[in-house]
């Protein structure tokens, strides 16, 4: 069953220096599965993710011949309908909890505001639900975390709070935009396995955005490789090693291997015609 279908998505920024196209005709569809989007900085992967939520700030513009989420036409939806979708059915975890959590609000207030404001829950019920959500991301002592400010949390802890916050309404689709890139290597695995477990248990669709092709290969069912705003290759994660496109091969080969040769790593080829 298709959860999200995107056809010919374009994101354009009208700047004084002319039009800049961040995403140029991206198409994909997604069921309740894990889709990885991989590419370098500036390849348009983040913009693709945010377009689904229609959260591109002006002067950015989103265009698509089709962008449908579970029967709702996202291109035609009113801002009000989009807000309802954002709060309840599509969620997003961003890169760095240091910036994505409000620095002057207590964690508890940030976790419960959706429940209280939209679902009209009592303070007590919302609090209980938020503590449950914190327990689900394996935070011990959730009562203390509720009273903390974001800067008092470590990166891994902050990202767990973020995941808990986004999963409270039980969304159907989660967009994870480099969810572990800002974390220490030692906590990356932990946060990933928490994310993995929750997405699997609740059967949601996942768009996992990363620059780390191997990570995405392990974590997802399917991978889109983006280059300069276009999809250059789409393949099953298990077939990653048989990638055909030279850019994908380049991404695979630019990582060092433990115990491998110490020769300089090959640079990444960037042929202009791939962007056509």
């Amino acid at each position: 069953m298709t959860l999200l279908s995107v056809k010919d998505l374009r994101v354009t920024f009208d700047t004084e220096a002319g039009k800049v196209e961040a995403v140029r005709g991206v198409s994909f569809s997604l069921g309740r599965e894990r889709l990885g989007i991989v590419g370098e900085s500036g390849s348009g992967k983040t913009m693709t993710g945010r377009s689904v939520l229609r959260l591109i700030r002006p002067p950015g513009r989103i265009e698509a011949t089709e962008m449908v989420f579970d029967g709702t036409d996202l291109m035609a939806a009113s801002e009000r309908e989009m807000r309802a979708l954002r709060g309840q059915r599509i969620a997003m975890v961003m890169q760095d909890p240091k910036y994505s959590l409000n620095p002057v609000m207590k964690v508890g207030a940030q976790l419960t505001e959706g429940l209280r404001l939209r679902d009209g829950m009592s303070a007590k019920a919302a609090r209980e639900k938020a503590i449950e959500a914190l327990e689900a991301v394996q935070i011990r002592g959730p009562e203390r975390v509720m009273e903390a400010y974001p800067h008092e949390l470590s990166g891994g802890m902050g990202q767990r709070v973020m995941i808990a916050m986004m999963l409270i309404p039980n969304p159907d689709l989660l967009i994870a935009d480099e969810p572990t890139s800002a974390l220490d290597v030692t906590v990356q695995a932990e946060v990933l396995s928490i994310l993995d477990g929750l997405v699997r248990d609740r059967g949601m669709g996942l768009i996992f955005i990363s620059h780390d092709l191997r990570l995405v290969g392990r974590f997802c069912d399917r991978v889109l490789v983006m280059y300069k705003g276009r999809v250059v290759e789409e393949l099953e994660a298990k077939n990653l090693m048989q990638a055909q496109h030279p850019y994908t091969q380049g991404l695979l080969n630019c990582l060092p291997r433990i115990g491998g040769s110490r020769a300089p790593l090959p640079g990444l080829d960037r042929a202009a015609e791939w962007a056509e």
């Binding site: 954002r86 959590l101 409000n102 609000m105 203390r144 903390a148």
Partner: protein
């Protein structure tokens, strides 16, 4: 700070955070004391280097040498400099700023009479500046480039560039002279003025508060009609400044990632702007507001002159024209203390609003 993943630092406001708050207040008071001592040193030196002979200013030009010498000794001017300074500081700490040559009263007594008028005016003006300036800045920041933004910008630019004496005269002409909507110069109509001095218990020296406490509502309304124009004129300038700063702080916050988070959560736009972003805007804005308040508390000479407002600004100016050095320096010390204290207060408030600074 980094904590291990499962042990967050104790939240601020808990008991373990208390000594830190006390230390903070202690440190602040200490630096306050040092700053004020420095200020006293400066006014002391100014008092000694200006080419006005303090003895001659008191005894007059026709005094005999014996009279002159007696006054000189009475003022302690034969003591060594360091001792003179120590006496000066000791007196100032006890609230003794010397005697005014012009009014023949204690400078501190004079200031207690004049300062409430300035305090009342500056507070109302700042209130106006904040209540209009902050929303205007927020509206402009959320609608950049639209007519709303343009209006806020142009109105603000006028507040910046129009001289306050001209604006004050214009306002008096239109709203008092032509339309007659408000009271004229002074704090009260002449009749009420006498009544206030004689009948109303002056608890604070601020007419609005004293008349309200005494239940003198007719007098209260009259005071409002007098203060509304000068406070609006003063508040306009501070509104212009506050709205511009608010706009730029808000634009900055709206580009932050936590704003996207709030939107992802489906929060309505009003909540994103007026709660999530504004809470962060308040952090730098507190300093801006405190500075503009402190600036108004120094007494705005021009506004006070035009509106015949018996405030600190006009007191110091009059003293200056009369070469009344004790009054000038005493007024300067008070202004300095007010300024420094407000700065410290904004520092403390800043830490209250921003949990990262605690």
């Amino acid at each position: 700070m980094t904590a291990s993943p499962d042990t967050p630092a104790p939240p601020p406001g808990s008991l373990s955070g208390l000594p830190r708050v006390l230390r903070l207040i202690g440190g602040t008071s200490l630096s306050l004391a040092i700053t004020i001592l420095g200020l006293l040193l400066v006014t002391f030196i100014i008092g000694r280097v200006v080419p006005i002979d303090p003895v001659l200013a008191i005894v007059g030009e026709r005094a005999t040498t014996a009279q002159y010498e007696a006054t000189r000794l009475a003022l302690g001017l034969d003591e060594p400099m360091w001792k003179q300074f120590a006496i000066y500081v000791g007196n100032a700490v006890q609230g003794d700023l010397g005697q005014s040559l012009r009014t023949k009263r204690e400078v501190s007594a004079d200031i207690i009479r004049y300062f409430p008028a300035t305090l009342e005016l500056a507070t109302l003006a700042t209130l106006f500046g904040v209540l209009v300036g902050v929303p205007a800045g927020v509206l402009a920041a959320t609608r950049p480039g639209t007519w709303v933004d343009q209006v806020v910008r142009i109105v603000g630019l006028m507040g910046y560039s129009m001289p306050v004496f001209w604006l004050g005269l214009l306002a008096l002409l239109v709203f008092y002279g032509i339309l007659g909507w408000v009271g004229g110069p002074g704090r009260l109509d002449a009749g009420f003025s006498m009544m206030f001095e004689l009948d109303v218990q002056q608890r604070t020296g601020m007419i609005l508060i004293d008349t309200a406490l005494a239940g003198e509502w007719a007098m209260f309304r009259n005071a409002i009609s007098h203060i509304i124009l000068p406070s609006a004129v003063l508040g306009y300038t501070s509104m212009a400044y506050i709205s511009r700063m608010t706009r730029s702080f808000m634009m900055n916050e709206l580009g932050q990632e936590y704003i996207t988070t709030a939107r992802v959560k489906g929060m309505p736009e009003w909540r994103v702007v007026w709660v999530h972003a504004l809470k962060n805007v308040m952090v730098p804005l507190i300093t801006v507001i405190a500075l503009s308040y402190a600036y108004l508390l120094e007494g705005s000479v021009l506004t006070e002159t035009i509106f015949a407002w018996p405030g600190l600004g006009s007191y110091i100016t009059d003293a200056l024209f009369a070469a009344d050095m004790p009054a000038v320096l005493g007024g300067t010390v008070v202004v300095g203390v007010v300024f420094v204290t407000l700065n410290m207060a904004s520092d403390l408030l800043y830490r209250l609003v921003d949990p990262r600074a605690r």
